[in-house]
Symmetry: C2
Subunit: 313 residues, 2 copies
C-alpha cells in the first residue's frame, strides 16, 4: 500500500499543491506560479518538477506514492481530457492525465476544479460522511459540483454541476456573462449580491449603512448581522433566488446535502437562514428535508479533492 498522494489545484494565477498521507491528512502544502506564457506550455512541467523536488526533499520514493490528482478549470471528461480547453491558462484541448503521467511516471487523475472541490468537501470537509451531495461555490460566479454515490457527476461534456446558469428569473433585462438573461449567477454570486444591493439602494431613500462605504457581499451580510433592514431585504432576495435554483437541482439529483462554499459563504450560518426557507418553499416535497452545511476546506478544497481522487476510491 502506497503511503502518499499529491493533490494539485491549477488556477489562473497559482498552482496549489498538497502532499497527503493515505488517511487524507495534508502533510505539506505550497504554491507555485501558473506561468501562462506560450499557451501555458510550462504549467505541467513546472508541477512535475515541484512534485519531484518535494519527494526528494522528503525522501519519498515513487513506489510510496499512490498517484497525483489534478483539478483544472474547464470541462474535463472522465478520461482527463480538457474538452474545450481552458482560456484562463491558455490551454487548448489535450489530455491532462496522460500528459502529466508522462512527465511523472506515476498514476494521474484529472477532473474539473469545481468538481474536485466538491469531492474534497465530501471526503474531508463540510460534506464528510455523505456520498450524495451538491457543493455550491458562491464566488465571483456561481459554480457547483455534484457527487452521486461517491462519484463526480461529470456530465456528457464536462458541464455537470454548472448550476450557475440555471434560468431563474423571467423578467431580467441585463445579460449574464454567458449572454443569457436571468441566470442564478446574476443574483447569488458575490457580484450578483452587489447588483441586488445597488438596485435596492437606488429604489428609494430607505436608510442603510450600505449607503456609506463600499457595497460588497461581505458588507451586505455584515449589515444583515447588524440588523440593517435594507440589507435584510437584499439577503431575502438573494435567498429566494438561490433557494429556488437549488430546489431545481434537488428535484433533479436529490442529494442528501448541499455544501455551500466560496467567498460569499464566509458570511457564515446567517447565509443558510436566508436560503433554507426559500428552498423548502420551492422544492418537491420528497426533497424538503435535504440538509445544508457550510464548506469547511476553503481554498484547500481543491487539493483535498484532487488527492481524494487518488485515495478515496
Amino acid at each position: 500500500m502506497s503511503k502518499y498522494a499529491f493533490g494539485v489545484d491549477i488556477g489562473g494565477t497559482t498552482v496549489k499543491i498538497g502532499l497527503f498521507d493515505k488517511e487524507g491528512t495534508v502533510l505539506d502544502k505550497w504554491e507555485i506560479p501558473t506561468v501562462k506564457d506560450n499557451a501555458g506550455v510550462q504549467v505541467l512541467p513546472d508541477i512535475a518538477k515541484s512534485i519531484l523536488a518535494k519527494m526528494e526533499e522528503k525522501g519519498i520514493a515513487k513506489s510510496d506514492v499512490a498517484g497525483v490528482g489534478v483539478g483544472a478549470p474547464g470541462a474535463i471528461n472522465g478520461e482527463g481530457t480538457l474538452v474545450s480547453g481552458a482560456v484562463n491558462i491558455g490551454w487548448g484541448v489535450f489530455n491532462i492525465s496522460e500528459a502529466l503521467k508522462e512527465l511523472l511516471d506515476m498514476p494521474v487523475k484529472a477532473a474539473n476544479d469545481a468538481n474536485i472541490a466538491a469531492f474534497g468537501e465530501m471526503w474531508q470537509g463540510g460534506g464528510k460522511g455523505y456520498s450524495n451531495l451538491v457543493a455550491v461555490t458562491l464566488g465571483t460566479g456561481v459554480g457547483g459540483g455534484i457527487i452521486v454515490d461517491g462519484n463526480i457527476l461529470t456530465g456528457a461534456n464536462g458541464a455537470g454541476g454548472e448550476i450557475g446558469h440555471i434560468h431563474i428569473e423571467d423578467n431580467e433585462t441585463e445579460s449574464c456573462g454567458c449572454k443569457n438573461k436571468g441566470c442564478l449567477e446574476q443574483y447569488a454570486s458575490a457580484t450578483g449580491i452587489v447588483r441586488l444591493a445597488n438596485k435596492r439602494l437606488a429604489k428609494d431613500d430607505k436608510p442603510s449603512v450600505l449607503r456609506s462605504g463600499e457595497v460588497s457581499a461581505k458588507t451586505v451580510f455584515d449589515a444583515v448581522k447588524a440588523g440593517d433592514e435594507l440589507a435584510i431585504e437584499v439577503a431575502e432576495q438573494f435567498g429566494d433566488y438561490l433557494g429556488k435554483g437549488l430546489a431545481a437541482v434537488a428535484g433533479t439529483v436529490n442529494p442528501e446535502i448541499f455544501v455551500i462554499g466560496g467567498g460569499v459563504s464566509k458570511a457564515g450560518e446567517v447565509l443558510l437562514k436566508y436560503i433554507i426557507p426559500s428552498f423548502k418553499k420551492y422544492v418537491f416535497v420528497a426533497c424538503r428535508e435535504t440538509k445544508f452545511a457550510l464548506a469547511t476546506l476553503g481554498n484547500d478544497a481543491g487539493i483535498y479533492g484532487a488527492a481524494g481522487l487518488i485515495l478515496n476510491q
Copy 2:
C-alpha cells in the same frame, strides 16, 4: 451464462411481465391484474406464481434465468427498499428485492418505475447508444428518470429525476397536486396542456377548432398539425415551459440526450419543434447541443428497463 431474464413492471391496475433473452429481445409478454386488497399482500406472490408458471410452460430451468428485474411506483433506494411505501398499490415500507427473491429463489433487482423506463429507453429504445440521458415522461403528470454513466441516478431518498415539480413559474395562482405553485407538471403534462388550452380559449374569442369538441393533449397537437393558430400558441407556451425546465435539468446533470415519452409524446416530432428552441434559449451554452429524441418503447419501457437491470450491467 444464463439465457433469460424477466422484466416486471408493477402498475396500479396491472402488472406487466416480459421474458427476455440475453440480447434484450422480448420473447413473450403478458399482464396479470394488480390485486390491491389487504394492502397489496398478494401482488408479489401473484408475480412469482406467474413467472414460475411461464418457466414451466417454456421448459426454462432456474439455472437458465439470470434474474428478475422489477419496477414499482414510489421511491426505491439502491437496495430495493420502497422507502415511503406506494399508496396506489397499498404497500408500506419494505424491501421489494428481498421479498420477491425469497419467493422465487432467483436474483431480483427493484427500482422505481420511472427510472426503469428511462433505463429501458437507454438499453433498447430512443436513447440506445447513450449512457448519459434523461428520460422525460409526459403523461397525467411529468416524471423523469436520469441515467449517469449507464447507471440509474436514484438520489438520496429515491426522488432522483422527479423533475415534474421543478418550480418554473413565479406567477402561478393555482396549486399543483404536490401543493406547490408553478411546478413544471402544471404546464407540460397532458393535464397541464389542457389547462393552458382552456385558459387561452377563455382569454378572447379567437377562432379555433378546439372550441368545438374535447380539449385534450391529443386534440391540441392535432390542431397544431392542422395549422390552428390558437393551438400553436398553446404549443408555444407548453414548449417554453418544458424547454425552461429541461434547461435547468441539463445545467445540473448535462446529459447527452433527452428522450421524451409518455402519452403526450404520441404527438410525435412536432413536439420537439416546440421544446428545442426554448431549451436552447434558456440553457447554459455548454449544454446547447444536447440531443432530443422521442421514446420508442411506449408502455413496454418498464419491462425492458427491468430486464435491463439484470442483463445490461
